[in-house]
Amino acid sequence: MKKEFKVISELIENKSKALDVGCGDGELLKYLLENKTKDIRGLEISKESVQNCLSKGLPVIEGNAENDLMQFPNKSFDYVILSQTLQAFLNPDKVIKELLRVGKKAIVTIPNFGHWKIRIKLLINGTMPLTENLPYEWHSTPNLHMCTIKDFFVFCEERDIKIFKSLALNQDKISEINNKNLNYKNLMSDLGIFLIENK
């Protein structure tokens, strides 16, 4: 069980309605189903992953977040979850807008490109950093728009998006991010987890 999923699950209220965008093989959905709420949905672009989800009986539809979130009415979910996929979209701005339209709240997690290991790799090697979380070569990476925890803070601020809760995950250790420790967390964390809402 990924620590990230447990943290996401803890941000979600019991019996609420949740949509996991880019739900992969449905690991998080299954965890939510068993621990939080029966009212879950998934959206996933890979046919193989969708088939795996459906094989588990999970209500997942094949589709692309950039086009297929449109079909969901305003505020039709209590939570819309986007786990480590924001960086893979052509237009992250549009996706975040859609998440906040469809969901009353959104939970967004981002692999932090500001982690010191990544910074050092680029500084010392002078090549695009490969890490456990980001194992792709520059030419074959699906990640088009990498950002740091700090970038995401600024992104939300500029768009009047309210950050309810921001958490940093570093090697399975969880901590809160605030304005005071932002630079430090941005250096030390693998992953940022944000609970956001339109102001």
């Binding site: 309605k17 949905r41 046919k47 969708v50 088939q51 989800c53 459906l54 094989s55 588990k56 009986g57 999970l58 209500p59 997942v60 539809i61 094949e62 589709g63 079909q71 969901f72 009415p73 039709s76």
Partner: protein
């Protein structure tokens, strides 16, 4: 056609008001079952067949002596696992395999009804089939499933009887027959009606049926069930038992010979008038019509879990039409799963050995049944 008297059927005594305004009662509806109904009666699945299908979905069809049309999907250990589920396969009114249809003998004239049979709709079919639940004393079905016209029946069933099925699996279908669908069906009907033997549908009286017209209808339709790529791979420009072109109108190409065979085999098992009636029912199918064009409203009261399936190479009922169903369901927050299965086998994919389809469906049904 062989003896139909041994076929299982219920006699629907209750009057059924058809969409055309006529009322029918005391009519037969044929069915077949596979597997056993458990004590809780919670393992029943109602499957609906496509245009030229019948109730013999699995095993050997006792009339045609051929394999059931859903042999890959239905049987012990298969997707519709008959070791686990009790599957009722319902025939349709209008059909020619024991249910009330144009080949039913009019007791007064002792002749087939022919075009005296009323024009029926998918809604009428489903309303008739609902009587099977009463017959088996089943309160709630575990699932309803079907492909093509069978999928349309699934959608209509769930719309008419919102809480009678826990799961609905509409496959390779549409909620509203398109102009292209109607055009292709009209081609088939005109072919039958252009056959001099059709005689305004009264051919039954002279024991001379419009086989040529029906065969051409089937040939045309059969092309629509396959994909261009599938046809090209299977037949290409291969010649039929000859080394070179014959400069004639014989079946030089394998594809011609194949289609001729499909047409010829079809007329042995299917009634031309049934073909007219059932294609008409499909053309009239538009689930949105009753709901001011809003498909979501058709499912407004349903707590059913939907699993919508389409196939990449199906151009007869393309993925976009399945997506429309998914979109309508998402608009009302219904529980819906959807996948477009990759297959080169065209619309017929739902009948064929397509492992991704069969495997996903099997696992979906089994994991959903457990919950």
């Amino acid at each position: 056609m062989n003896d139909l008297t041994e076929i299982k059927k219920i006699i629907v005594k209750k009057p059924l008001k058809l969409d055309c305004g006529k009322e029918i009662s005391n009519f037969p509806l044929a069915y077949e079952t596979y597997g056993k109904l458990n004590e809780n009666k919670d393992n029943a699945i109602l499957v609906f067949h496509a245009l030229t299908g019948d109730q013999f979905a699995s095993g050997i069809n006792p009339i045609t002596k051929k394999d059931g049309w859903w042999k890959y999907a239905l049987g012990p250990g298969k997707a519709f696992d008959t070791e686990k589920f009790f599957v009722i396969s319902a025939n349709v009114i209008g059909g020619c395999m024991g249910s009330y249809g144009p080949s039913t003998i009019n007791e007064i004239t002792s002749k087939p009804l022919g075009t005296d049979f009323p024009v029926i709709t998918i809604n009428d079919m489903v309303n008739a089939q609902y009587n099977l639940l009463d017959f088996f004393k089943i309160e709630t079905l575990f699932a309803v499933a079907g492909g093509s016209m069978g999928g349309m029946q699934v959608l209509q069933f769930v719309s008419n009887f919102p809480n009678k099925a826990k799961v609905a699996v509409p496959i390779a279908c549409t909620a509203s027959h398109s102009a292209q669908n109607i055009a292709l069906n009209e081609l088939g009907r005109q072919s039958i009606m252009a056959d001099i033997n059709w005689q305004n549908g009264s051919y039954g009286e002279r024991e001379k049926s419009p086989d040529k017209g029906l065969a051409v209808a089937r040939m045309a339709a059969h092309i629509t069930y396959l994909s261009k790529k599938g046809l090209q791979e299977k037949f290409g420009r291969k010649l039929q038992e000859r080394d070179d072109l014959k400069f004639s109108f014989d079946a030089d190409f394998q594809i011609e010979s194949y289609l001729r065979h499909q047409g010829a085999a079809f007329v042995d098992r299917f009634d031309a008038n049934s073909y007219l009636y059932i294609t008409r029912a499909m053309d009239y199918f538009d689930l949105t019509k009753k709901f001011d064009g809003n498909l979501s409203k058709a499912f407004a009261n349903s707590k059913t879990k939907f699993f919508v399936i389409s196939f990449t190479s199906d151009w007869l009922y393309p993925t976009s039409e399945s997506r429309d169903i998914v979109i309508a369901l998402n608009a009302i927050g219904a529980s819906v799963g959807f996948v477009e299965i990759k297959s080169d086998k065209g619309h017929d994919s739902f009948l064929l050995d397509v492992p991704d389809f069969l495997g996903t469906l099997k696992n979906y049904l089994s994991s959903t049944y457990k919950k």
